[in-house]
Amino acid sequence: MNAPGDLHFISEYILETQIVKPDRKVYVFKREDLRRIFEKLIENLGPSSFYISTIIGTDLKDEGKIRLDYYVVFLPKEETIVFRTFLPRDDPTIDSLIDMFPGALSGECETYDLLGVVFKGNSFLRRGFFVPHEIVEADKYPLRKDSGV
């Protein structure tokens, strides 16, 4: 039931399918559909059939985008599926998931402080908990390619 092929109920939100080696399926979606996708996953699979393993932000400076990947592990087979979206570099905002999944907290806070992605609705976001204060004062996000860190 939890096989990735059975994720047809979110197919309307999927723009493209890619692969991360070795054999991790990547579903690309629009950033405004994030919460809808996770709501659908809970609705169809139940809240305790998957967990958010990690959130990875990557600065694609040359394309003017920040890529955001949600790595979700589906039980019981433990298949890792990637939900990927692109945020414009000058407006890197997306909805937060912590009200649905408190486990997203560590990933969201980290991505905010190191990369500057704002998760709307996450009240725990703040600068200076990940990076030393001199970098906060210089208003730099260390994982951005042009941060000079």
Partner: protein
């Protein structure tokens, strides 16, 4: 007559546990708020050990990064290196020999053994059982010796390399390791029985820090902590990396979900590790030389991205490596260690237990601060003044 004066009574006692604290061996601060003896809230503050490893990886070459990631953590250096190296091999499309795969498994299982023994020893020490602590540590030394025989080093082994491992094993070494395994197995069974039968251990651990299956998944908790709550997750069994597809082993789960169950999962897993290590030594294939010629390794990495998982001692550890195909350095390396989820997301687990239970619960999570401290996180609001009724500070409040 209206109210003329309001007397404010402090709701809770603020109790800092750490970063330098007799109950903790690692630099983390658990700011606990207690109502009498009962903990009503815990803030988890870290940030005493920040090293910026992900950025460092972007500034160094693919091959140098193997040594950097192996130094994320002293206890689990081999699994870090293995996970990272497999990501590189994925990007390169490289297959390695079976002998090298088996040797990697052997090295990683020895690491799991000494790590599980260490945390169970620390638990014994934290509940005041110093004699047991010293005995377990003494037996753990044997495993460190076995690791030295195999890899050449007791702690930072730097054993895994792209294309294989750095040293082969001969018959003499095999026999020595087998002897050590036999002796250790006997001791492990004894310690397991102590944890099952000793009344003071049972009183301190049973029903302390209970967490349900649903909470585990909601808070992305991994590893032995998840397995002790009945969540059957194990990257070794699901991803079947290295030689795990060919080696029979059991995924240990329990249903109690308390601190005792987490320690028992570790004892049972240690015994499984002995069986795996023995299987490797008895069935080691000799298909090719496991040590590749470093000069012949590819210098240029093609464009590509890889995401690998490994079951570290503390749970699922993941690496994401991206190569842009142009630079000799990785474009992005993302490390997500098990402690990153297990410690930061578990503030809710302490609520409702007594102050004396706090070190027990923390120890049962097997905290590894150097793993987490690649990035620094503070969990909760920092207000010193609370205007929240105690009722609202119940279990689950963040």
């Amino acid at each position: 007559m209206g109210v003329t004066k309001v007397v404010e009574i402090p709701l809770a006692l603020e109790l800092p546990v750490g970063p330098q604290h007799p109950a903790l061996h690692e630099p983390v601060l658990l700011k606990a708020y207690a109502d009498g003896e009962e903990i009503v809230k815990v803030e988890i503050n870290t940030g005493y050990n920040h090293r910026g490893i992900e950025k460092l990886c972007e500034k160094n070459s693919f091959y140098r990064d193997i040594f950097i990631v192996a130094r994320v953590c002293g206890i689990c250096n081999l699994v870090h290196a293995d996970c990272y190296v497999r990501a590189l091999e994925s990007i390169l499309g490289m297959e390695i020999s079976n002998r090298a795969k088996y040797l990697r498994v052997l090295a990683m299982e020895l690491e799991r053994l000494h790590s599980h023994m260490l945390i169970n020893a620390v638990m014994a020490e934290n509940i005041g059982f110093d004699n047991l602590f010293m005995n377990i540590m003494l037996d753990r030394e044997r495993i460190m010796k076995a690791k030295e025989i195999l890899t050449g080093n007791r702690v930072l082994s730097d054993y895994v390399m792209v294309g294989g491992v750095r040293r082969d094993i001969d018959e003499v070494k095999k026999e020595k390791i087998k002897e050590i395994l036999a002796k250790t197995e006997e001791r492990l069974r004894f310690y397991k029985r102590v944890f099952e039968e000793d009344s003071s251990i049972l009183k301190r651990l049973i029903d302390v820090g209970k967490v349900s299956r649903e909470e585990v998944l909601k808070h992305s908790i991994v590893g032995p902590v998840a397995r002790a709550s009945g969540v059957k997750i194990d990257s070794r069994a699901s991803d079947k990396y290295d030689a795990y597809s060919e080696i029979p082993f059991n995924v240990i789960t329990r249903t109690e979900g308390d601190s005792w169950a987490r320690m028992m999962v570790r004892w049972d897993e240690a015994l499984e590790s002995i069986n795996i290590a023995r299987y490797v030594l008895d069935n080691l294939p000799s298909d090719a030389n496991p040590v590749p010629d470093e000069k012949k390794l590819p210098r240029k990495f093609p464009f590509g991205e890889a995401y690998t998982r490994v079951e570290a001692q503390r749970g699922e550890l993941t690496y994401y490596v991206m190569s842009d195909g142009k630079s000799p350095n990785p474009y992005r390396v993302k490390i997500r260690t098990p402690s990153f989820n297990n410690i930061i997301n578990t503030g809710f687990m302490y609520v409702g237990y007594s102050i004396a239970d706090l070190p027990v619960i923390l120890t049962s999570l097997d905290p590894c601060i150097s793993c987490m401290e690649r990035a620094v996180i503070i969990d909760l609001e920092k207000n010193a003044l609370y205007k929240i009724p105690i009722k609202d500070l119940s279990r689950g409040f963040r």
